[in-house]
């Protein structure tokens, strides 16, 4: 049996015996048999349906990533739709929303159709975020209505904010009747110019120019005002500061049409990782950036990401935002890069790290540390983001099976050989993490299967 399946495969039938079924949308959590017959969650199954002992495993709705870079077209050396959706399936994701900063960018109907054609038979649903402006140049709006009818889930010039308030206002006003969000990467370019990491003591110690929190907050506050004024819907992606989370919390309290996501790496890894820290942000014991830098770890280009890794107090505010629902989703910002873009001077390193295959483990580490409940984590990584892109996530009888089964206690080591992604740019490489996906089912099809083959390498 192939480890990875495709959405075009035959529907699956399996009985997961004694699995803990956790459905955050239905607020249900119980240990029982979960039956899938011909790709549909069923009440009963005939005896010829294979039965798998799922004792100790958790079944949850399939994960939905609102923010990933699959690099196709144009940068297939780093990732392709095939490898990227396999990485998604391996990480428990059944949907990936891909960002338009490909080469060429996804700014017209033809490019959206190209992605649709190339993702036939992929290992996860691929949804497109269209470029908000033509060629992502930040000058003229893309054909937003036509792209909406072509099925995009939102619009973004990810990598940059819409450069002017008037353009952002025009986009939100035009999108208001279409119902799709403007997805903003929040970075005021003049405030962040030349910055390489988050401003703070670690940046000061390392002599790296700092990205101030105000660079993010400025755009968030601007777009909240514009969303309110136009009735448009704005979604802030990969927020990384306490101040921005507070602004979103206040906007939501006023019932404005505002949502947001954070990345797993901003939740778990603080800016001290740039100086060589390798503790999760919630762990006790402050890292002393003024002590001797570890020559093996300091200035590792794999810790460069944009927005930059947050200060510890910010990561804790992001976690609190996930817990209280201010943060709608955990989205990976999976950003594959080849080694030659990372094994360079820190400031020359391409920003970004892979995330599809480590998201669950980082989330479970936060759960283990008491920062989140398992239900809060699963809501933020499955049902709520799915809802934002108009997808159903339910484990109720009669629904198409779209789910992940994982072992919350199993350990694995992040290594080149253990990743389905074409790239391995993550500072977690070599680290042992907890939480292993055993089975992913999308639209009733098995897209990743490790049940019964535990501990064996899937690339054999």
């Amino acid at each position: 049996m192939a480890r990875f399946g495709r959405l075009t495969d035959a529907p699956a039938s399996v009985v997961l015996a004694g699995v803990r079924v956790l459905d955050p949308a239905a607020r249900s959590d119980s240990v029982r048999d979960l039956l899938i017959v011909n790709g549909i969650v069923a009440e009963s199954a005939s005896d010829d349906v294979p039965r798998v002992d799922a004792d100790g495993l958790v079944a949850a709705p399939g994960f939905c990533d609102l923010h990933a870079h699959l690099r196709e077209p144009g940068m297939e050396g780093s990732e392709t739709i095939e490898s990227g959706t396999q990485a998604a399936a391996h990480g428990g994701f059944t949907t990936v929303c891909i960002m338009p900063n490909t080469d060429p960018p996804l700014d017209d109907v033809r490019s959206v159709e190209l992605i649709g054609a190339r993702s036939q038979g992929a290992a996860a649903r691929v949804r497109v975020v269209g470029a908000a402006t033509r060629e992502r140049a930040g000058e003229r709006l893309s054909d937003l209505g036509e792209l909406t009818r072509a099925g995009v889930v939102g619009f973004s010039d990810d990598g940059a904010s819409l450069p002017s308030a008037s353009l952002a206002r025009a986009a939100l006003a035009y999108l208001a009747p279409l119902g799709l969000p403007l997805i903003e990467h929040c970075e005021e370019p003049a405030l962040a110019r030349g910055a390489l990491m988050r401003a703070g003591p670690t940046a000061l110690r390392l002599g790296l120019a700092g990205w101030p929190s105000s660079a993010e907050l400025t755009i968030v506050e601007r777009d909240i005002a514009l969303a309110e004024e136009t009735g448009g819907r704005v979604h802030f992606t990969h927020l990384s500061t306490a101040a921005a989370i507070d602004a979103v919390r206040r906007a939501k309290a006023r019932d404005l049409n505002v949502t947001c996501d954070v990345t797993p790496h901003h939740l778990a890894l603080a800016d001290t990782w740039v100086a060589g820290d390798r503790h999760f942000a919630w762990e006790d014991g402050a890292f002393d950036a003024f002590a001797r830098l570890d020559p093996d770890l300091a200035y590792d280009g794999r810790t460069r990401v944009n927005p930059p890794l947050a200060r510890r107090e910010d990561t804790l505010a992001l976690l609190a935002g996930v817990a209280d629902g201010t943060v709608d989703a955990i989205a990976t910002d999976h950003a594959p890069h080849p080694p030659e873009r990372k094994l360079v001077e820190f400031g020359a390193a391409a920003p970004g790290m892979i995330g599809l295959e480590t998201a669950l483990s980082l989330g479970l580490a936060a759960v283990e540390a008491g920062c989140l409940s398992l239900a809060q984590l699963l809501r933020a990584i499955s049902s709520r983001p799915a809802e934002l892109v108009g997808e159903q996530r339910s484990l109720a009888v009669g629904e198409a099976a779209d789910l992940v089964v994982f072992d919350p206690g199993a350990r694995w080591t992040v290594s080149r050989d253990n990743l389905a992604s074409r790239s391995a740019n993550t500072p977690l490489l070599g680290r042992e993490l907890t939480g292993v996906v055993r089975l992913t089912v999308a639209e009733g099809r098995v897209t990743f299967d490790d049940l019964g083959r535990i501990g064996r390498d899937f690339k054999e």
């Binding site: 002599g207 360079v344 001077e345 820190f346």
Partner: protein
């Protein structure tokens, strides 16, 4: 070993290194580094650091090779790692690296088997300058324990300030920092450092160091104008009157005369600027001997 930062050196190691530098002044016809090939990989312009490293290496009997960045494959877009690996393969055993990117020596140390000496990386560190400054201050003051040293100017963008903070505090001094807000903000977090208004930093200081202002920092870059800088932060005889009697002035050079300090002050007998340069060679001899395992 490598010398990437001052942070790896304990107080006793620093003192031993300064003692060794003093000893190096007297050495003639030395062969400590015979068999070593020292590459000077300067990706940024430099006069005093490059020349003093070259003289230091030759004084200890090493072969030196100057990677003229303009005339090398670097101009063809070769990556730093590839260039340094090429140096290593041609037999270079010690690479003296000056680079505009903070942290570049760490990358170099991870990528090559050659030993790396940091000759200044971005805004991060300039260990041999700090050692030369510490030696200059130790000679003049007799010791650094309990001394108050003021550093004035653009701390934030200065690798010299950072390395001096580490070296001087490790040797027992307290370091006071003063400058325009954008240039000192956050440095209170640095162990042993105190950020203060200029007068307070200068008051009873045992020595005052001022830093080069990069002229492009004018206007949007942290200071309204150079005129404003001179008026508010420029060192003059009058301002130096707050410091201890005879307190010396240091500057890592090159100076902008009439900007960081008045021309009178620069040429007065308070000035140790020339001595800082003279101490550059023996300090770099000591550092090269240390990384070669011959110290």
């Amino acid at each position: 070993m490598n010398l990437l930062d001052v942070d790896g050196l304990s107080r006793s190691e620093l003192e031993r290194l300064l003692d060794l530098a003093v000893e190096m002044r007297e050495r003639r016809g030395d062969t400590t580094l015979r068999g070593e090939t020292v590459a000077l990989a300067f990706y940024e312009a430099s006069t005093r650091t490059r020349v003093s490293f070259e003289l230091a290496a030759k004084a200890l009997g090493a072969t030196t090779v100057d990677l003229g960045v303009a005339g090398s494959s670097v101009g063809k877009g070769e990556s730093l790692v590839d260039t340094l690996l090429t140096l290593q393969r041609t037999g270079v055993t010690i690479i003296v690296l000056r680079h505009a990117a903070s942290g570049a020596p760490y990358l170099a140390a991870r990528a090559t088997a050659a030993r790396i000496v940091n000759a200044g990386d971005g805004q991060h560190a300039h260990p041999t300058q700090a050692l030369a400054d510490a030696l200059t201050l130790r000679e003049h003051l007799g010791g650094l324990d309990g001394r108050k040293i003021a550093i004035v100017g653009d701390i934030a963008h200065s690798r010299v300030a950072r390395s001096n903070l580490q070296a001087l505090t490790a040797l027992g001094a307290s370091v006071w920092l003063a400058g325009p807000p954008a240039f000192v903000r956050g440095f209170d977090a640095w162990p042993g450092a105190t950020v203060a208004p200029l007068d307070e930093a200068l008051r009873d200081a045992d020595a005052v160091m001022t830093l080069r202002i990069q002229l492009e920092r004018e206007a949007g870059g942290g200071i309204p104008s150079l005129r404003e800088y001179v008026a508010s932060w420029g060192l003059t005889e009058e301002r130096m009157g707050l410091a201890n009697r005879g307190a010396p002035i240091l500057h890592p050079g090159p100076t902008n005369e009439g900007l960081e300090l008045s021309a009178d002050l620069a040429s007065s007998d308070r000035s140790l600027i020339g001595r800082q340069v003279e101490n550059g060679v023996p300090v770099r001899m000591a550092v090269l001997a240390l990384v070669a395992g011959a110290a």
